[in-house]
């Protein structure tokens, strides 16, 4: 029998027992809806997490550290590499080498230090970090009040919202972290801060010893020696960032940002300076870490591999997101299994409906066989009926699942709003899930039709014709 004829006959047969077939189809719909609801929740949550990670602006950044610092994340490749003491120093030449790697846009030193900032004659101790001018385009500065640095060397500063609160003496109340950044920025923008810092200055050359051609080790040590001078720098507040540009760094994140070139020119004493003193025989600056910005997040892995080959440790948000993807895959599997349970129950309904249909239509099957229907025709007809119920159930189920998702999303957002949180879109039904759900419902229905269709096809026509 041709497919259009088969479909027409199947639909006609389904219409004949409208109530029963509708109930069975509703069963499938509920199953599909539950599957769609579960999976779209999983997908939505993953997208929410990914969005949150992307907002950090670090998806295209590889953080490079020297293994000497033991700053690796304890991953196998770092444990198995050369001993930390023998690995390369992360100095200016390494930075230039990294910057010249393919797909790397720029590599800038990670200058960060804890120091005192005075505002309104009150001291505030905080972590300060230097930002390259390219950071301006990062999502992290979306919603920032004021402007980005006017130049890479300007004596300007951008504050993170929480530090602005600290300066103004406003402690964020618990659960309400959405203090209006504009309100915070208004009294601060254009005001000056005084930064007190320890400057590393090269020591005067010890002329006597070097002239005598004394011990070369001593002269190397002398070259690495430096003085620490206390300095002050006036900085103008130009911006207050709403988001946390360094959320990836956890507790080590900075709350005050300086232009990179300015920070470099200040020669602020950094923790690594103390560590490197014993061996740094060169006058090159040594960095605790370097951020390498990659052209495209897809190339982060390549760049990371290349940097690892150079003997450095790396960390990127992709590492974190990869782990997250694994977690979500497990979550999908669980949600999928729970979602499918209802569909499996519904498939038993299909078997039941079709077995009932065989009993009721026994004589009809006999007639069809008597006038020339083959076993295959009868089998295909029952398959088509099961498949049609599956497709209808799938379509209705997807719509139902989508509606459930929207309602729950709406309800949750109303709740979030009442709690003072911004609304979130954590429910997502991608097109592939729609197609997958309908195809899955169709496949499950066909599988459910296997037994009844086979049974109908095997009916003895003589017996079937005798059936009243």
């Amino acid at each position: 029998m041709k497919i259009p004829d088969l479909t027409e006959l199947a639909l006609r047969n389904l219409r004949e027992s409208l109530l029963r077939n509708s109930l069975t189809t509703i069963g499938i719909s509920v199953g599909v809806a539950s599957l769609v609801a579960m999976l779209s929740l999983g997908i939505g949550l993953q997208q929410l997490f990914s969005r949150r990670l992307a907002k950090s602006g670090l998806f295209d950044t590889v953080l490079v550290t020297s293994r000497r610092d033991l700053r690796g994340m304890g991953r196998d490749e770092e444990r198995n590499g050369p001993a930390p003491a023998e690995s390369r120093v992360l100095d200016e030449s390494a930075r230039l080498e990294i910057e010249h790697l393919p797909n790397v846009l720029e590599a800038y030193p990670d200058i960060r230090f804890i120091t005192e900032l005075r505002y309104d004659d009150k001291p505030h101790l905080t972590m300060i970090s230097a930002l390259p001018s390219s950071a301006k385009s990062k999502d992290a500065f979306d919603g920032m009040q004021g402007t980005f640095f006017s130049s890479d060397t300007a004596a300007e500063v951008i504050l993170q919202k929480s530090f602005a609160e600290e300066l103004l003496g406003k402690s964020p109340s618990r659960g309400v972290d959405e203090t209006n950044v504009a309100d915070l920025a208004k009294p601060l923008l254009g005001k000056d801060l005084t930064m007190r810092y320890a400057q590393r200055a090269p020591s005067p050359a010890p002329a006597a010893t070097s002239a005598d051609g004394a011990n070369p080790a001593d002269s190397a040590l002398a070259a690495a020696s430096y003085s620490v001078i206390s300095r002050e720098e006036k900085l103008t507040i130009v911006g207050v960032a709403d988001l946390d540009p360094e959320s990836m760094r956890g507790p080590a994140r900075a709350k005050v940002f300086l232009p990179l070139k300015l920070a470099e020119s200040l020669h602020v004493m950094q923790p690594t300076d103390l560590r490197e003193i014993a061996r740094a025989a060169s006058d090159q600056p040594v960095y605790s870490s370097i951020s390498a910005r990659v052209k495209d997040p897809a190339q982060v892995q390549l760049v990371e591999d290349a940097i690892k080959k150079m003997g450095f440790g790396t960390f990127s948000i992709l590492d974190a997101s990869r782990g997250l993807q694994q977690v979500f895959r497990v979550l999908y599997a669980f949600l999928g299994i729970f979602g499918s349970l209802a569909l499996i129950v519904a498939s038993i309904g299909i078997v039941n409906t079709l077995v009932m249909a065989i009993l009721e239509r026994r004589r009809e099957i006999g007639i069809m066989k008597a006038i020339g229907a083959s076993d295959g025709d009868v089998k295909k007809l029952f398959f088509a009926e099961a498949g049609a119920m599956g497709i209808f159930g799938g379509i209705v189920g997807v719509a139902l699942g989508w509606t459930i998702g929207q309602v729950i999303n709406l309800g949750t957002n109303v709740y979030l709003k009442r709690q003072g949180f911004p609304p979130e879109h954590f429910w997502s039904v991608p097109w592939w899930l729609v197609v997958f759900a309908i195809v899955f419902a169709f496949a499950v229905s066909l599988a459910s039709g296997l037994y009844p269709a086979g049974r109908a096809a095997r009916l003895d026509p003589v017996q079937a014709l005798r059936y009243e």
Binding site: M1, D5, E16, M368, I371, G372, S374, D375, P461, V462
Partner: protein, 251 residues
């Protein structure tokens, strides 16, 4: 509808031949010999009546000839096809293209209109929709039901239903018409109408007709040959001169 020449091309040749045909059933400990060693030959274009009391095996023989059932032993060869060795698929094709069947209880599908019932075999034969509709209309016109095409069987009288069943049996231009008590559920007047049609197909289209009936008078009126069965055995096989003229019969 096909021309007489197509169907009756092989008139006079052997259409059905059975040799020592047996169909036994086991019912618990008892062996039922529904058909027990029947050998017969039916020539193409013949109108044969199978007669016998209830349980004599006449319907079982008809089912074996129709390819609805398989013999326990013996052979049944129809139009040079040995039905005992055909696969289920081949038997279905045989029923679709070679045989037309009419039943006592009409056996129309209640959920379908007359036109849909009549064209159902054409769906199995994968005939195009437009051609199917034309053929179904022509078949229903032939049995005088052109005005009832869109009606369901439950809206028709018994005679009309049997006429529709006849139209369905003929739609695939079969060489063999098998009728199982075709007038059993009809009053005598309607029964005569149906039998006249059957005879018309036999005479005008040269179709071989095998009719099962327990009414001897009906057989004598229409059949050219009467085969008597009892307890699954052939007990008599005699020629008969139909008592009604081809132009029309009396009930």
């Amino acid at each position: 509808m096909t021309t007489a020449s197509v169907v009756s091309a092989a008139r006079g040749t052997v259409a059905i031949r059975s040799e020592n045909l047996c169909r036994h059933y086991r019912m618990g400990e008892t062996l039922i010999r529904a058909v027990d060693g029947i050998s017969l030959e039916v020539r193409a274009g013949e109108f044969v009546a199978l007669l016998g009391s209830s349980g004599s095996g006449k319907s079982s023989v008809l089912n074996l000839i129709a390819g609805l059932d398989r013999p326990t032993s013996g052979t049944v060869v129809v139009q040079d096809r040995d039905l005992a060795i055909l696969s289920r698929e081949e038997l279905a094709k045989y029923r679709l293209h070679v045989v037309g069947m009419v039943f006592q209880s009409f056996n129309l599908i209640a959920s379908m209109t007359l036109a849909e019932n009549v064209e159902l075999p054409l769906r199995f034969a994968e005939v195009d929709r437009s051609k199917r509709e034309d053929l179904a209309r022509a078949a229903l016109e032939r049995v005088g039901l052109q005005a009832r095409m869109g009606h369901r069987p439950s809206e028709l009288s018994g005679g009309e239903q049997q006429r529709a069943a006849l139209a369905r049996a003929l739609i695939n231009r079969p060489q063999l018409l098998l009728a199982d008590e075709p007038t059993g559920n009809l009053d005598s007047h309607t029964g005569t109408e149906i039998m006249e049609m059957v005879r018309e197909f036999n005479q005008q289209l040269g179709m071989t007709v095998v009719m099962v009936t327990h009414e001897r008078a009906l057989a004598e009126r229409y059949a050219q040959r009467m085969i008597f069965l009892a307890d699954g055995k052939l007990i008599d096989d005699r020629a008969n001169v139909p008592t009604t003229a081809a132009s029309g019969g009396q009930s």
